[in-house]
Symmetry: C2
C-alpha cells in the first residue's frame, strides 16, 4: 500500500458511455485540484455504479449490494478505496477495510468494483500521486465537461449499459 | 432460515443460454434424486459462473473473486448456500458464512450470486424441500439433457454471454 501521505482525495464526477467505443468510463476529479482521472470499466460495473448514483433500489440485492451486506453482517467497515497504480495501461486499486475499529485489511480490487463499493458505503476515494501524475488529465473547459457528465447521469437508465 | 433437516443437496449441472429467450439459465439437480431446478439468471452472473467452471483465470479479480478474497482476508468461511424460497416466480437464496469456526451468519442473496460463490468456494449447494416440491422438474430423458448441458459447457466461451 502507498504511504497515506501520498494519496490525493478524489471525487466521482460520474459514469458515462464513451463514443465511438461505447465503453463505459468513470471520471474522478481531484477534490482540491483540476486534474481528472478517466478509467474505462466494464458494462456491468458501470451499471452497478449508475444504479446507486440514481438512488435506484433493485427489488433484490445486486452483487455489490451483497458485498456491503456481507461486510455489515461481519461488522467490518470500508475505510477507503484507492486507485493505487497504473501498469501497462491497467489501473489497480486497493480496498481498505477496518475490523474492530482498528485492524486495517488491504485487498486488491479493480477500480470499477472499488467505486461501486465506495458509492454504496460513502467511503472516501483516493488516488496515489503517482497515478495522477502519470494518468491525470487537465481539462481546460472543466465546467462544460462536468456539465456533460451531470447531464448524462440525469438521463441515463439501465438500458444504456445493455443490461436489463 | 429453513430447518437444516429440510434441505436437499443439489449439484450444479451447468449454465447455458436458453432459446429463444437468449436468457442464461442455471440447472441444479438433486444429488440423490432426479428432480432438476432451472433458474433464470442475469448475463453477468452467468458469465461469472461459466468462467469458474471453465477454470479460466482472469488477469484481475472479477467481482465474485473479490467476494472470496474479502472473506479469506477476514478468515470467514462459506458454509453453504441454499435456494430457500420461491415467491412470485422469484427464487430467493441464503448465503451461510461461518466465523471463528462456530458463529453462523445468514445473508439474503440471489441464487445467481450464491452459485457464483459456491463454485469458487467449493461449498455445498442446497435447496429447501418446499422449493423442490414447487419448482422442481423431473426430466425423463435425463441423460440426454445432462449431455446437452455438458456439451454446452465444453463449447461455451465468454462471448456467448454478450460480455467480453
Amino acid at each position: 500500500m502507498k504511504n497515506e501521505n501520498d494519496l490525493i482525495k478524489m471525487n466521482l464526477e460520474g459514469v458515462r458511455m464513451e463514443f465511438p467505443s461505447q465503453k463505459p468510463i468513470i471520471l474522478l476529479k481531484e477534490e482540491t485540484g483540476n486534474r481528472f482521472l478517466p478509467i474505462w470499466i466494464g458494462a456491468f460495473e458501470a451499471y452497478a455504479i449508475a444504479l446507486e448514483l440514481a438512488h435506484y433500489k433493485t427489488p433484490r440485492p445486486m452483487t455489490h449490494d451483497l458485498i456491503i451486506d456481507i461486510l455489515n453482517s461481519l461488522n467490518v467497515k470500508v475505510d477507503y478505496v484507492c486507485i493505487s497504480d497504473i501498469i501497462d495501461n491497467t489501473f489497480y486499486a486497493i480496498l481498505t477495510l477496518v475490523r474492530d475499529k482498528q485492524q486495517k485489511i488491504n485487498i486488491d480490487i479493480r477500480p470499477s468494483d472499488a467505486i461501486a463499493i465506495a458509492v454504496r458505503s460513502k467511503c472516501p476515494v483516493f488516488a496515489s500521486v503517482e497515478v495522477i501524475e502519470n494518468a491525470g488529465l487537465t481539462i481546460t473547459t472543466i465546467d462544460e465537461e462536468v456539465e456533460k457528465f451531470r447531464d448524462f447521469l440525469d438521463h441515463t437508465n439501465p438500458d444504456d449499459f445493455g443490461i436489463k
